[in-house]
């Protein structure tokens, strides 16, 4: 089998034979991304309303359903309504620490079966069981780690208490967020990604970051658009004006 040294050696040999086609440099990276991001967030907090408006426009354009509530206590009502309208009973949600709100409590006794994902490592058998729960669930509720206004994108980071399957397996995905996670552009999202990987920051979280821009779709059959191919058929975003638990204002 080819070794690393051999493989790279061949590449170096070819590189030595040419200076390239024209002088070029990669993007200038921020020296201290987390610091830059803090500054950016402060700036963005002044114009969050515009970012939100833009987000809503783009989110709806790609088929997302937007909801807005004043206080975190109202979120469960929205979730219950979404489920009721679609005659859905099985709900799966992120752990409250990740969700930044308590859902299981307020949703109990409303005829819904809520499974809250555990906050830490579990046994292999339990993981298997939970996979079945997620696959059987009709509605998955997650938080949002980043909302990109330019494209109407919800970004979720995986990890303990915030499994990938919650936003992937159920036919309906509802994501709850507040103004703190809003950024305006993909370029700013790039800065966030730099910050999320700065130093050992990445070690504390899961291995998957997912940008979600609307419901799953395809146009592979005669270019006819259909939704819900493998991922969710519907994506809902629930915005909490007063902020979620543990946020800047929370």
């Amino acid at each position: 089998m080819t070794s690393r040294a051999e493989f790279l050696g061949r590449i170096r040999a070819e590189m030595a034979r040419t200076p390239g086609l024209f002088p070029a440099t990669p993007s200038v990276r921020p020296a201290r991304p987390r610091e830059r991001l803090d500054v950016l967030r402060r700036e963005l907090s002044e114009r969050w309303a515009e970012s939100l408006a833009r987000f809503v426009g783009e989110f709806e354009r790609v088929g997302g359903v937007f909801h807005r509530v004043a206080r975190v206590a109202e979120v469960s009502d929205v979730i219950a309504a979404i489920a009721a309208e679609r005659e859905m009973r099985k709900v799966v949600s992120w752990h409250p620490d990740a969700l930044r709100l308590d859902l299981a409590g307020p949703l109990s006794g409303r005829g819904l079966e809520i499974s809250t994902m555990p906050g830490g490592e579990v046994t292999a058998a339990e993981r298997e069981r939970l996979r079945g729960v997620a696959a059987a669930a009709e509605l998955g509720v997650t938080g949002v780690d980043l909302a990109v206004a330019e494209t109407g994108t919800l970004v979720v980071v995986s990890g303990a208490g915030r499994p990938r399957s919650t936003s992937l397996l159920p036919a309906c995905h509802a994501a709850v967020f507040d103004r703190d996670v809003l950024v305006e552009s993909l370029a700013q999202a790039g800065l966030v990604l730099e910050a999320w990987h700065e130093g050992s920051a990445a070690d504390a979280r899961g291995a998957a970051i997912n940008f979600i821009t609307g419901p799953s779709r395809t146009a592979d059959i005669e270019l006819t658009l259909t939704r819900g191919v493998h991922g969710p058929k519907e994506v809902h975003a629930v915005f909490v004006e007063d902020g979620l638990v543990g946020g800047a204002r929370g």
Binding site: R164, F211, I212, E222, G228, G231
Partner: protein, 471 residues
């Protein structure tokens, strides 16, 4: 097997495709739609032009330090518990993936759309080794069931009607339904959901790999990329070495233009950033992550004439605008990658002999270069390939003789001027009312469908010379 026989000359394969009325209509509708969507997306996006320049610069800059970026990528992937493998050839790559499958005892593999795995013909090898590969991108799933090859880089089943898909599902899956895309999609979702949950192995490509962080990036619309990299125990990503990008800041530039170029979307539905195997506390995610770095002809082009083709993002924009592709579709090209970039990639993977006809499957109109998000000058490289075919004597000798003679004639003006009276003599039996509707031999191909003009009774130079004589 719908794979056109490569022993059939390209011209014949192309003509056959031209006779397929449904294909023609499907291609017209699909390519026109993609063109419109792309134009709208960039029309609405003033920053787009500058970002295209930047994207091109990032690609070039990356190649200029490719070894360093790959070293960084490898170190980061390994630091996160992933394994990196090095495949010089398609065969090496197949062997590596089969090895991984064997060692992990995999029987069922789910595949997210990957042109790299098409390129190395992985599926046949997996099947032969007792591993069942299931394509999960709907278009790829359809053509897998039909035992065909993809006909477009991003819309592989563009050549199939919904009726044909319904028939296919009835025959291969024993699932009957109306030829309705909604119903057909639902069937695919159900069938494939089961496979995702059962599969031992997830095989993907990679649209990008970020060197700075060891992150593999998958761009999809359906969610199969997320499934394949979260549910099976083992994840293998096969990636051409040129897909590495230096940083997340660079990645954001590409994300801003890739989906717009491919389908006119601002972003595809899912952009998945995968940092290796599952971390502690995660419910999903593979136990093992493998990155297979693929050469297969790419490394040689770092200093070769096709270097610029290494910038390619596999968006398919060039296919959609190519007047040739739009008429004949992808299968007629005969290789994994069709369309303008496909000719270059075929030369890269299979050598110049493979494109002695394909290099001429272009009117050099330049629409591809215009559409390319990273501004690859495809026509220039097509001409370079034609040059290589001539210089290596791969081009047929009569052609080389004719062009050589033509070139000589152009440098001998007195003899060149003789060609007019000679042509006038020769054309007399064929000229009808100022046109030539039919010519034998060399130009008969032209006159089968078009008239030819007659050589003028007096050429411009003859008239000018006469005028000068009179003065």
């Amino acid at each position: 097997m719908s794979d056109p026989d490569l022993a059939t000359p390209f011209r014949e394969r192309a003509s056959r495709a031209l006779g397929d009325a449904f294909l023609k209509e499907a291609l017209t509708i699909a390519t026109t739609k993609f063109i419109t969507l792309r134009q709208e997306a960039f029309g609405d996006y003033p920053e787009g032009e500058e970002l295209r320049d930047r994207a091109r610069a990032i690609k070039e800059a990356t190649l200029q330090h490719l070894d360093q970026h790959l070293e960084r990528l490898i170190d980061n992937v390994e630091r996160r518990g992933g394994h990196v493998h090095y495949a010089n050839t398609a065969e090496d790559a197949r062997r590596i993936v089969l090895d991984i499958a064997r060692r992990s005892g995999a029987r069922l593999a789910v595949k997210s759309k990957s042109m790299a795995t098409e390129e190395i013909h992985l599926n046949e090898a997996l099947e032969a080794a007792g591993v069942t590969p299931i394509e999960t991108d709907l278009g790829e799933y359809i053509i897998q069931l039909a035992h065909e090859r993809p006909s477009h880089i991003i819309a592989p089943a563009i050549h199939k009607t919904k009726g044909q898909v319904a028939e296919l599902f009835a025959r291969e899956l024993k699932r009957e339904t109306r030829p309705d895309p909604e119903m057909l999609t639902r069937i695919a979702r159900e069938e494939l959901r089961e496979k995702f949950l059962q599969a031992d192995l997830g095989i993907t490509g990679a649209n990008f790999a970020v060197a700075e962080t060891g992150t593999v990036v998958l761009v999809t619309n359906e969610g199969n990329g997320r499934m394949a990299t979260s549910l099976p125990r083992v994840h293998v990503a096969v990636m051409g070495v040129e897909k590495v990008v230096p940083s997340m800041t660079d990645l954001a530039v590409f994300l801003a233009i890739l989906a717009k170029s491919a389908t006119g979307q601002k972003l595809s539905v899912y952009t998945s950033l995968v940092d290796g195997p599952r971390r502690s506390g995660e419910l999903e995610g593979p136990e093992e992550f493998h990155l297979v770095l693929l050469d297969n002809g790419r490394i040689k082009q770092i200093a070769g004439t096709l270097r610029e083709a290494l910038y390619c993002l596999r968006c398919g924009a060039c296919l959609n605008v190519c007047p040739v592709y739009r008429q004949i579709g992808g299968h007629a090209y005969g290789y994994t990658y069709p369309g303008p970039i496909g000719i270059l990639l075929t030369a890269m993977l299979e050598g110049p002999e493979s494109v002695k006809d394909l290099a001429h499957a272009s009117s050099l109109c330049g629409a591809c270069a215009d559409a390319c998000p990273v501004r690859i000058d495809i026509p220039r490289m097509l001409i370079e390939l034609r040059k290589e075919v001539v210089e290596r004597r791969i081009a047929p000798w009569p052609e080389r003789v004719v062009f050589g003679a033509f070139g000589w004639l152009l440098r001998h003006p007195a003899l060149y001027r003789l060609s007019a009276p000679i042509a006038r003599l020769l054309q007399r039996p064929f000229a009808r009312g100022g046109r030539i509707p039919r010519l034998p031999l060399f130009f008969s191909d032209w006159t089968r469908t078009r008239d030819l003009p007659v050589v003028a009774a007096r050429t411009f130079q003859e008239r000018w010379a006469e005028r000068e004589r009179r003065r």
